[in-house]
Symmetry: C2
Subunit: 127 residues, 2 copies
């Protein structure tokens, strides 16, 4: 038989589920191409907004700011504003951001390593 307690879940279970849903939310935030490309572009460097826009090919003004806000909110990038004129804003990966970059690097490596496989797979797909 199932008790009410089990149905509602123990406190520890509740914590685990909360952590899982949070993890899922973070994953969904981060697992999109623009976020990953931005992280990859930053690397060890610190770049200005306009430099990032040039670096991340094809990203629009809007998507760049949007993703930068999101990354900042999650503490993956730090935003340093220089009170000059014209304004100068620099973005840098934080420690968590750099840790994530390592895995993004791995993804990029993977992409290049399997370029051949994939191209061939695509060729023989209509068969």
């Amino acid at each position: 038989m199932v008790t009410k307690q089990q149905l509602k879940g123990l406190p520890e279970d509740a914590d685990l589920r909360r952590a899982d849903s949070l993890a899922r939310e973070i994953f969904s935030d981060v697992a999109n191409k623009w976020a990953l490309l931005i992280i990859e572009a930053l690397g060890e460097r610190t770049l200005r907004f306009s430099e990032l826009r040039d670096e991340v090919e094809g990203v629009s003004h809007k998507m760049l700011t949007q993703n930068l806000r999101m990354l900042e909110r999650n503490g993956l990038v730090s935003r340093k504003v220089h009170p000059t004129v014209p304004p100068r804003v620099e973005y840098t990966l934080t420690e968590p951001g750099r840790a994530l970059r390592a895995t993004v690097d791995a993804m990029c490596d993977w992409t290049h390593r399997y370029l051949g496989h994939i191209e061939k797979a695509r060729g023989s797909f209509g068969a």
Copy 2:
């Protein structure tokens, strides 16, 4: 001065650019949450369509088929059809797919390791 040859790019440059654009295309295909979650769900196992739908929480019928086709086209998953009734279709990661999974695992590990950091960062963001 810039020669016409330089403007058009040498053949090797053309190859490099083609490879880059292809790499970018593959990256864009793969760097979306459903694709990554599917890869993660598959892991070492081989799962049926309906099992995958249950496993990957929140994915719709349509998104699942769509991403599975894409992954199959790129040779990341193999699709085995059992000619029974009712039909039984099993999906398994190929070698390239398993290689990518390793990096997705790393991303998941990252998510859990930095849950605390991120939660704290979010808290002190409205400041």
